[in-house]
């Protein structure tokens, strides 16, 4: 069967081309430009769906742009994880289209740009392109955070920009060190050379820089200081996209770097430490937060910390746990933000919200139960995967991580259910609970319904995640896919069809 490799470029190229065209078209007809943007993202989503079918049937896709075989030229690589993230990004973009028809065409352009660059992050097969798309994503998100340019928004965007630029320069420095050590930027080629060239101090220094650099978007401690301000200030849709999806693109890049270029224990321990710090920082900061949106922002930091802990655990089990946590968070957090956008102000002021909008409060409780990890909701299985995967590698640091993860559940429940209790409280006399916009409620309910569907189909979903993780955690297979002739020694052992039971490393 002919593979659809040549389609890989479309989800990146179409939106970016459209982003350049839109201001021009807008000069002729503003509404045409806006529709062009949305149409392009829909088209990209269609392409992504076709790619997903192909990948599900016959394994990862590789495209060498311009006919230059890797490691020369630009390589695009898509496996199950990339395509899942790509679909999440484009579908999320459409659901949370952060520009309304009344807005200047500029914000539409930024959305389309975010989609194109985000697709690039999901699909790029070399470090340099990752960096370029990371920068474009960053620029688009600064613009989106700045929104209509109120004082608070501009301030948040500026501080976000400063932290983001700091991160980008660290990442660039890391990439430079990797290039200096290996002489290549192609991930597969780096993976091939990594054991001899990147195992030393230079390699580890490069890893540190890369993690801190890409960690800005992935909300890793200590470069996540922008999170609470940006999420509280930017529009809820932008916050949903950043916290829900862009952060996942970034953390998956970190995972790829760990799996491919730094498979040693030291790099994993470093990521583990950052993850533990993130969970502790996020959970405790969320405890006692004054507002709902603040609590949710800190909770996002801790969830990304959990993902980092999972990705720090070697083998398929770790990647599967991280992926499950990441996808769960991508589904849950945007729904939370949709509700929080309407429930602003101090938490105690939310009393009566349940009476005003029972559905919204019920959705909140459902989401909270899942994010806390109550069986049989998906959040439980994600955390369960994490704990079992971690316990299989019982080093003292990992045991600490398990203890932190389990304790974090209690802290998480403490603030989530403090809010839930407030929602169901009696409002002050002659005051009704806060109302909620119908569109926001519809989006939150849609995502909650998705969560319910995942709950019912959990076995199948977890199997799919496990299959994707098996592919993504296999370094040799990646090399063999991208560099068939060079990686010949690494036999094409793993593909989608392998019985995942034999792959399982959960004891």
């Amino acid at each position: 069967m002919a593979r659809s490799s040549e389609l890989l470029v479309l989800p990146i190229a179409l939106p970016i081309a459209a982003a350049f065209l839109m201001p021009v078209v807008a000069n002729v007809q503003a509404s045409l430009a806006r529709w062009l943007g949305i149409a392009v993202v829909v088209a990209a989503l269609g392409v992504a769906a076709m790619l997903a079918v192909d990948i599900a049937q016959s394994g990862p896709l590789v495209a060498a742009l311009g006919g230059f075989a890797p490691p020369l030229g630009i390589t695009l690589y898509a496996d199950g994880i990339s395509i899942t993230l790509l679909i999440a990004l484009l579908a999320g973009g459409l659901l949370f289209w952060a520009a309304s028809p009344g807005d200047n065409v500029r914000s539409h352009v930024l959305m389309v740009l975010l989609m194109g660059a985000g697709s690039g992050l999901a699909l790029s097969g070399d470090l340099f392109n990752l960096f370029v798309f990371y920068e474009i994503t960053a620029v688009a998100s600064y613009g989106l955070v700045a929104g209509r340019g109120s004082g608070a928004e501009a301030g948040a965007a500026l501080r976000y920009l400063i932290v983001g630029t700091l991160g980008s320069s660290l990442a660039l420095l890391g990439i430079a060190l990797v290039y200096a050590s290996t002489g290549t930027l192609n991930l597969a080629d780096i993976a091939r050379l990594a054991p001899e060239r990147l195992a030393g101090v230079t390699g580890m220094a490069a890893f540190l820089l890369l993690v801190l650099g890409f960690g800005v978007k992935a909300e890793l401690t200590p470069v996540n200081t922008w999170v609470p301000e940006v999420y509280a200030t930017a529009s809820a849709r932008v916050a949903s996209l950043l916290a829900g999806i862009v952060s996942k693109l970034a953390i998956v890049i970190v995972m790829r770097i760990v799996v491919l270029a730094f498979p040693g224990e030291q790099a994993r321990e470093l990521l583990l430490v950052l993850g533990i710090a993130g969970v502790v920082a996020g959970e405790f900061a969320a405890l006692g937060s004054a507002t709902l949106i603040q609590a949710l922002s800190y909770s996002s930091v801790s969830q990304l910390g959990l993902v980092a802990i999972a990705f720090a655990i070697s083998g398929t089990a770790g990647v599967a746990a991280g992926l499950a946590l990441a996808l769960h968070h991508a589904l849950v957090k945007p729904a939370f933000f949709m509700l929080a956008a309407n429930w602003r102000g101090p938490i105690d002021g939310l009393a009566g919200a349940a009476k005003a909008t029972p559905v919204a409060a019920a959705v909140f409780v459902f989401l909270a139960l899942s994010i806390v990890g109550v069986p049989p909701l998906p959040g439980f299985w994600a955390k369960y995967l994490l704990v079992t995967a971690a316990l299989a590698k019982a080093s003292p640091l990992v045991l600490l991580a398990i203890a932190v993860v389990l304790a974090a559940v209690v802290v998480e429940a403490a603030y989530m259910f403090r809010i839930a209790v407030a929602l169901y409280g009696q409002p002050a006399p002659e005051r009704s609970g806060p109302a909620i916009l119908r569109g926001d409620l519809a989006r939150a309910t849609l995502l909650a319904a998705g969560l319910a569907v995942v709950t019912l189909t959990a076995p199948a979903v977890l199997d799919a995640i496990h299959r994707m993780a098996a592919v993504a955690s296999d370094r040799d297979a990646y090399i063999a896919h991208v560099l068939p002739e060079r990686g010949a020694r690494a036999a094409l052992s793993v593909s989608v069809g392998v019985d995942q039971r034999t792959e399982r490393s959960i004891p």
Partner: protein
């Protein structure tokens, strides 16, 4: 479709029916009849369980991440399920009439009761560790929903409960995952083999995590603070249900894990050097201390509901003691006490609920003399407190006697002494309860009070009657206990209708009760032979502290009920656990505040620099040099 499937579906159907019809008038009757039907299903299961001593499997099962989760109910689960459904039956009977009509949202109460029953049935049918955990969480959240419904203080108590419960659940999860890592399966039998082979440090960890985790729900010290307020703030009928059975889920899980998965032999082999205690002794001492402390806290309570719920925590200690002795007599006593306690505690809580229904308060300082106005509630409470205090002829006496006897035979004289001290405290406190509510002078504001309606008194009195019947004929209960004991794998205790026959001393309650009644009859005969002189006196014609009281001298002694005792034991109430809890909350607030302050974009470069320096130093020192 097995009987267990029918049971599950039935419980779900009740929840659904209550969601639809819960607000209507006959809802309580429908619920009561439905629970009776569930009870009938359980009764149909008994012969199957007795025949083969095997579990009845449900046809619901699913595969997830390579594990198969299924449910089946064995004799132990069946025994607890019986109490659960019966408690729900009496709770909804109680709320089927006037009591339910005046509730703020009776529909929600009905639905939540049914959901709780379902969750408990799921827990009680778990056949592997993962199923146990899932059921455990379901039960925790279902009871949270039940406790929080009234809002305000109830919501605060429920919130505290769910944090304790989740902390416990996480400890349990850690233990389960540790066992799973060694057993390669969640199956109880595989887990047992794996645990036996664990190094002793890991065994200790697993035992500690499980005891603490499941102990939270039992209110085992020092995790007991949540229980009394949470149960007390729940509306009467639901509170009776929670009191009767909810905390026992912790006992069930402890029996399953400590006795079935870990095994008493492993526990007794885990010894601590130099203090002659093993893991089992430590847990038994925890249970005994819980028993004493909770009972004396109960003694000091001034709210009837709190007094009873604190006793619930203490009574849990008896059950755990009996079960951990693990002799046929001990486990039978412990398990029997679960059922006996459920019966008399439900009666007591319902009786307090009907007093609250009429007077609007359960404050022991604001009641008194209600015996003339609510005689049926008084009779119920009298029967209940005799059971709670463990005196003949009520059922509580039998199970406590068996536990005492097993402690004696198990050579645990110190624990036995603690059990006696507890019983003393119980007797004192239940007297305070009944005196402050029903005896003494009637308060003026209660002059117009009437007895609770039949919809409330009939189930109450019925519970009291069961309390007496199973006290006089403990063989009825012991027959049910047999199923549970067989499932744990403890040899069955030989018993007959009147009690047990043992080489070291038997108990025949038929004789005990018969003798008691005969003595009373003889007393009456003598009294009447001597002329039977008596004079009816008015309730106000009374005396206190050596002084005669009358209608113009109103005095009901209830405030600071045991002043002398309080002076002696008062200083023991140092509340260090309460203070530890408060400190923990404050500490996490401070840490939270500090962390929130650390999220400052301006300091990020400093963080990055620190991270880079620390990271590079670590990279260098960790032997990364080429």
């Amino acid at each position: 479709m097995s009987l267990l499937d029918i049971l599950f579906l039935g419980a779900l159907a009740v929840a659904l029916a209550m969601a639809l019809l819960g607000g209507t008038r006959p809802a309580g009757v429908i619920a009561t009849l439905s629970y009776a039907a569930l009870l009938a299903v359980l009764a149909l299961m008994e012969p199957l369980l007795a025949q083969s001593n095997a579990a009845i499997a449900s046809s619901v099962k699913f595969q997830i991440i390579g594990e198969e989760i299924g449910w089946s109910m064995n004799g132990l689960g069946w025994f607890f399920a019986l109490i659960t459904v019966a408690a729900a039956l009496f709770a909804s009977w109680f709320s089927s009439g006037q009591w339910g009509a005046v509730q703020y949202d009776m529909r929600r109460q009905h639905v939540l009761l049914a959901v709780n029953v379902f969750a408990m049935l799921v827990l009680l049918s778990s056949q592997d560790l993962l199923g146990l955990f899932i059921g455990w969480e379901l039960v925790s959240w279902a009871s949270f929903a039940m406790m929080t419904q009234r809002g305000g203080a109830a919501a605060r108590a429920a919130y505290r409960y769910i944090l304790y419960a989740l902390a416990g659940a996480m400890a349990v999860l850690a233990a389960i995952v540790i066992i799973r890592a060694h057993a390669a399966s969640f199956n109880f039998a595989d887990a047992r083999m794996a645990v036996a082979a664990l190094p002793s440090a890991t065994k200790w960890t697993v035992v500690a995590l499980l005891t603490a985790g499941f102990g939270v729900k039992m209110g085992l010290l020092p995790f007991h603070l949540w229980q009394a307020p949470a149960y007390s703030e729940t509306p009467g009928a639901s509170s009776a249900f929670l009191n009767a059975i909810s905390a026992r889920m912790g006992l069930y899980a402890l029996i399953v894990t400590l006795l079935q998965v870990i095994g008493t032999d492993v526990l007794t082999n885990l010894s601590v050097q130099f203090i002659w205690l093993d893991a089992r002794d430590i847990i038994m001492w925890l249970a005994a201390v819980t028993m004493v402390v909770a009972t004396f806290i109960a003694l000091m309570q001034t709210d009837a509901r709190l007094l009873l719920t604190w006793h619930g925590i203490g009574q849990g200690g008896y059950m755990l003691l009996g079960v951990l002795i693990a002799s046929p007599l001990g486990t039978a006593g412990g398990l029997m006490h679960v059922m006996n306690y459920g019966i008399y505690q439900a009666a007591l809580i319902l009786s307090v609920a009907s007093v609250m229904h009429r007077t609007g308060t359960s404050d022991l300082d604001r009641l008194g003399g209600l015996i003339t106005r609510m005689p049926l509630s008084y009779v119920t409470m009298l029967m209940g407190i005799i059971g709670l205090a463990g005196l003949p002829p009520m059922n509580g006496f039998v199970s406590k006697w068996m536990i005492y006897k097993s402690l004696l035979e198990g050579r645990e004289p110190l624990l036995l002494a603690l059990a006696f001290v507890t019983t003393l405290g119980t007797i004192l406190s239940v007297y305070k309860l009944i005196h402050n509510i029903f005896l003494g002078q009637l308060r003026q504001e209660h002059w117009e009070i009437r007895e609770a309606p039949l919809s409330m008194t009939v189930p109450m009195l019925l519970l009291g009657a069961i309390c007496f019947v199973t006290g006089a004929m403990p063989g009825l209960t012991l027959q049910l206990v047999d199923r549970a004991q067989a499932a744990i794998g403890v040899p069955l205790l030989a018993h007959h209708l009147g009690g047990v026959t043992l080489a070291t001393g038997s108990l025949n309650m038929l004789w005990v009760v018969g003798t008691m009644l005969a003595m009373m009859g003889m007393g009456a005969v003598i009294f009447y032979l001597l002329g039977g002189r008596h004079r009816a006196v008015h309730q106000y014609d009374n005396y206190a502290g050596g002084h005669f009281l009358s209608a113009d001298l109103r005095y009901h002694f209830s405030h600071e009920f045991y002043p002398g005792l309080a002076r002696v034991i008062g200083p023991w109430y140092r509340g260090w656990i309460v203070r530890a809890e408060a400190s923990l909350i404050r500490l996490s607030d401070i840490i939270g505040h500090a962390w929130r302050g650390s999220f400052d974009a301006g300091i990020t470069p400093l963080y990055v620099m620190a991270a880079l320096v620390a990271g590079l130093l670590w990279v260098r020192s960790a032997g990364g040099l080429p």
